[in-house]
C-alpha cells in the first residue's frame, strides 16, 4: 500500500492511493469557546441543502454536546473502542491509523451505524460531566459528599459543531469501490458523485466522523459539499456566514512548510497552533480545526484534539496580550468573503481582512468596541435616559 505523509500525526502512513495533495485546501476553524449551540448553522445548512425528500434526518452540519452527546449515537465512542487505546510520542503518533488498523478483508476500520442511531440528534445536550456524582466531589469518594452541585469547575460541558472535514486522506473516498467520491484538485473539497453512487454505503461505514448520509428517496449517499458554489465565488459557506456567535472562519490552508504568516488560516493553525484537528489519530488529516474550550480538563481534550491541547489553551488565554492574534480571531464571522490575508492596523487598533479574489481590503474590525458615555439627562430632547431591563 502506498505511503503518504500526514503532518498532523508527524509521520508517514499507509493509504490506499498515491498521495496527491490538492493545489489548494479549503479548511475551517471553529472556536469552541464561543459556540452556544444555537443551531443556526444546522438550520442554515438544512434549508440550503437538505430540505428535500429522503433528507429528513440528515444533518450535514450538527452541533452536539460533549461529553454525552453524539450524532449519530456514540459515533466517536464506537470508533475509538474499535481502534483501541493508542499513543503519541510527543507530536508523533505512534499508534495505528484507521487504515493501518483495518481488518484483512477491509480497506479501513469502520462500522455501519444502525438506522435508529440517527433518531436522537439532541441526546446528551447540555448534560454536564460531574454534576450527578454522589460523593465524588472535592475528593470525597466515600459517599459523604452527597448528590449536590459543589464547586463549579468540577463540572463542564462544551458544544462541538461538526461538518464534513474534507480530509486530505478521506476514509469515505478510500472506501468507495466505484471511485464515486473524489477530492477536487482546485480546492480539496470532497464530493460524492451523484451520477455514480449506487448507495453501497461503504463511505458511511468507512468515515469515522459519520458525515455521509444515506438518502432513502434517491437511494444514494450524500454529504456536506462545503457550499462549493459559494467557495468558487470567493464566499464562505452557509454555516460559517450565518453563525451568530461568529465562531467560524474558513479559507485556504497551506501545508506547514509553505505556511504564509499573514494568511488567517495558516497563522492560526501553523504559526500560533491554536486550532487543532479533530481526532488526528484516525489518520485522515481532517481540515476542520478547533480551538479547544479552555474550561475543559486537558486530559479529556487530548484524546479529541491531540497532544498540543495545552499549548493551544495557553495561547488562547494570553491572546489579549497579542494584538496580531487578537486580529485574526476578531475576523471570525465579520465578512462573507474568503480572506487571503489579514493584518493588525496598530494606529487604528483594527483588524483588517483582505479579499482572496480581488485583493481589496474588504473588512475592518476594531479590536476594542467603541464606548460612548451619554449623560443621564439629554438636554436636546429634554428627556432622561433610563436603563430598560
Amino acid at each position: 500500500m502506498p505511503k503518504v505523509f500526514n503532518w498532523q500525526i508527524g509521520r508517514e502512513m499507509e493509504f490506499p492511493y498515491e498521495g496527491a495533495r490538492p493545489d489548494n485546501q479549503f479548511a475551517y476553524i471553529f472556536d469552541l469557546n464561543k459556540c452556544i449551540a444555537c443551531q443556526t448553522c444546522t438550520i442554515a445548512c438544512k434549508t440550503t441543502w437538505t430540505a428535500g425528500k429522503g433528507q429528513e434526518t440528515m444533518l450535514w452540519n450538527n452541533v452536539e454536546t460533549k461529553p454525552y452527546g453524539y450524532f449519530p449515537l456514540g459515533w466517536d465512542l464506537k470508533i475509538l473502542d474499535l481502534l483501541g487505546a493508542q499513543s503519541w510520542d510527543g507530536d508523533v503518533y505512534t499508534g495505528k491509523t484507521l487504515f493501518e488498523a483495518a481488518e484483512s478483508d477491509e480497506i479501513v476500520l469502520g462500522y455501519l451505524p444502525d438506522d435508529m442511531d440517527y433518531a436522537n440528534p439532541n441526546i446528551g445536550e447540555d448534560d454536564c460531566y460531574g454534576t450527578t456524582f454522589k460523593g465524588a466531589v472535592n475528593g470525597r469518594s466515600d459517599g459523604s459528599g452527597g448528590a449536590y452541585f459543589d464547586a463549579v469547575h468540577h463540572s463542564w460541558m462544551f458544544y462541538l459543531p461538526r461538518i464534513c472535514n474534507h480530509c486530505t486522506y478521506p476514509a469515505c473516498l478510500s472506501s468507495c469501490t466505484r471511485k464515486s467520491i473524489y477530492k477536487r484538485k482546485m480546492d480539496g473539497i470532497v464530493l460524492i458523485d451523484q451520477t455514480r453512487c449506487r448507495g453501497y454505503r461503504e463511505c458511511i461505514k468507512g468515515c469515522p466522523y459519520k458525515r455521509p448520509f444515506y438518502n432513502p428517496h434517491t437511494r444514494t449517499s450524500e454529504k456536506c459539499i462545503a457550499c462549493y458554489p459559494f467557495v468558487e465565488q470567493g464566499q464562505q459557506p452557509q454555516c460559517v456566514v450565518t453563525c451568530i456567535g461568529k465562531i467560524r472562519l474558513s479559507g485556504y490552508l497551506s501545508t506547514p512548510e509553505k505556511s504564509i504568516k499573514n494568511h488567517p488560516m495558516d497563522y492560526l493553525i501553523h504559526e500560533k497552533r491554536i486550532a487543532l484537528p479533530l481526532y488526528p489519530q484516525f489518520g485522515l488529516e481532517p481540515n476542520v480545526y478547533y480551538i479547544p474550550p479552555v474550561h475543559v480538563p486537558p486530559q479529556f481534550l487530548t484524546q479529541m484534539f491531540g497532544p498540543r491541547v495545552r499549548h493551544a489553551i495557553e495561547t488562547y488565554r494570553s491572546a489579549h496580550k497579542d494584538p496580531e492574534l487578537l486580529s485574526a480571531l476578531t475576523l471570525f464571522g465579520c465578512t462573507e468573503r474568503i480572506l487571503k490575508a489579514f493584518k493588525y492596523d496598530k494606529s487604528a487598533n483594527e483588524a483588517v481582512g483582505i479579499d482572496m479574489m480581488n485583493g481589496t481590503e474588504v473588512v475592518c474590525v476594531p479590536l476594542t468596541e467603541p464606548v460612548i458615555v451619554r449623560p443621564l439627562h439629554d438636554q436636546k430632547l429634554g428627556a432622561y435616559r433610563h436603563n430598560i431591563t
Binding site: 428535500g52 425528500k53 480497506i107 469501490t177
Partner: protein, 287 residues
C-alpha cells in the same frame, strides 16, 4: 495489471479444488410464450435440465466477504425463437427487499462476455478492453414494481414532514421539477433513483472492479419471486440486440456465463457478494 490479477486469482482459486469447476448449462428450446416463461413457477421450467453452480464469497478485491451465506445456485435455461431465458434459484430464508431503514436488498446477476471469451475476459467484472455484459436483478426493484416505490414513508409510516421546498406535495410523485434541486441523483437520472421502473432489473457493462455502469437502454426483462425459503428469478434477453455494448448470442452456440448473488440480510452489496468462475451455456435451438 488486471490480467496479472486475473491469472493469479485463477491460480489462487485452483487451490480450492473442484468447488469452482466449470459446469455446462443446457438451454433447451421452448414453444411456451415469453410472458409465461417469465414466471419462475411455470410448469415448463421443470422440463429444463437443472445445473448446480457452486458459489464462493468474493475474496479478491477489498472489501471482501471472508465467509458467504450461499453455497449453491440452481440454474435452468431455455431459448425461444428470439429470446434467451435464464432461471436462477437459490435458498435464502429471508426475502430482503427493503432499503428505507439502512437495510440491503437481495439481488442476483448473470454475466456474459461482451467482446472476448473465457480465455481473455476476467470473470471478475471483466478487464479493460474486454468488457462484460451483466443483467442485474434486485429484490427491492421487484417490490417497487409490485407494491409501489419503497419511499421514506414506507420505512417510517408515522413520519411527519411539514413540506418539501418547491414540491407540489409530499408523495414520491410530487417530487419533480424544481423540487429536484434537493435530489440531484434523481435530476441526474442516477439508475438507483428511478421511481418508475418498468423492469426489476438493469443491464450493465463493466471492464473491471468498480467500473460497472448501467446502460441507458434496457433490452432485457426479469421477474423474481420468493417462496418456500427460496428466491427464483427469471431473466429474459433477446439473443441479438441493437445495442453494441451487449453480448450478441446465437442459437446453437456455446458461450461463457457467470453468476453472482447478494444476501441482503448479511449486508451484501457491491463487491461484498457471492460469485463463480466462467461456466458454459450451451444455447439450444436451430442456428
Amino acid at each position: 495489471m488486471k490480467n496479472t490479477l486475473f491469472l493469479s486469482a485463477l491460480a489462487l482459486l485452483g487451490l480450492t479444488g473442484p468447488a469452482l469447476a466449470q459446469t455446462t448449462i443446457e438451454s433447451k428450446p421452448t414453444r411456451t410464450s415469453l410472458d409465461e416463461m417469465l414466471k419462475p413457477g411455470h410448469q415448463e421450467w421443470q422440463s429444463m435440465p437443472e445445473s448446480t453452480i457452486k458459489m464462493a464469497p468474493q475474496n479478491i478485491a477489498k472489501p471482501m466477504l471472508s465467509k458467504g451465506t450461499f453455497q449453491e445456485l440452481k440454474v435452468r435455461s431455455s431459448v425461444t425463437k428470439n429470446w434467451l431465458l435464464i432461471r436462477m434459484e437459490w435458498e435464502d430464508p429471508n426475502a430482503d427487499a427493503e432499503l428505507t431503514r439502512g437495510e440491503f436488498s437481495d439481488a442476483c446477476a448473470v454475466q456474459f462476455c461482451a467482446k472476448g471469451d473465457a480465455k481473455d475476459t476476467s470473470p471478475f467484472m471483466g478487464n479493460p478492453g474486454k468488457p462484460v455484459h451483466i443483467l442485474h436483478w434486485k429484490a427491492i426493484w421487484q417490490a417497487d414494481i409490485e407494491l409501489g416505490y419503497r419511499d421514506v414513508e414506507h420505512g417510517y409510516p408515522n413520519m411527519y414532514v411539514d413540506y418539501y421546498p418547491l414540491a407540489e406535495g409530499k408523495k414520491t410523485e410530487d417530487i419533480k421539477g424544481p423540487a429536484l434541486q434537493y435530489n440531484p441523483a434523481r435530476s441526474l437520472n442516477n439508475p438507483m433513483s428511478l421511481t418508475q421502473r418498468k423492469q426489476p432489473m438493469e443491464e450493465l457493462v463493466a471492464v473491471g472492479f468498480g467500473s460497472a455502469t448501467s446502460q441507458a437502454h434496457l433490452d432485457a426483462k426479469a421477474n423474481g419471486q420468493h417462496s418456500n425459503k427460496k428466491w427464483s428469478v427469471v431473466f429474459a434477453r433477446p439473443l441479438e440486440t441493437p445495442d453494441p455494448s451487449d453480448s450478441q448470442l446465437k442459437a446453437g452456440s456455446s458461450v461463457p456465463i457467470a453468476f453472482a448473488l447478494w444476501d441482503g440480510a448479511t449486508r451484501n452489496r457491491g463487491g461484498r457478494k457471492h460469485y463463480c468462475m466462467w461456466q458454459t451455456l450451451k444455447i439450444g435451438g436451430t442456428p
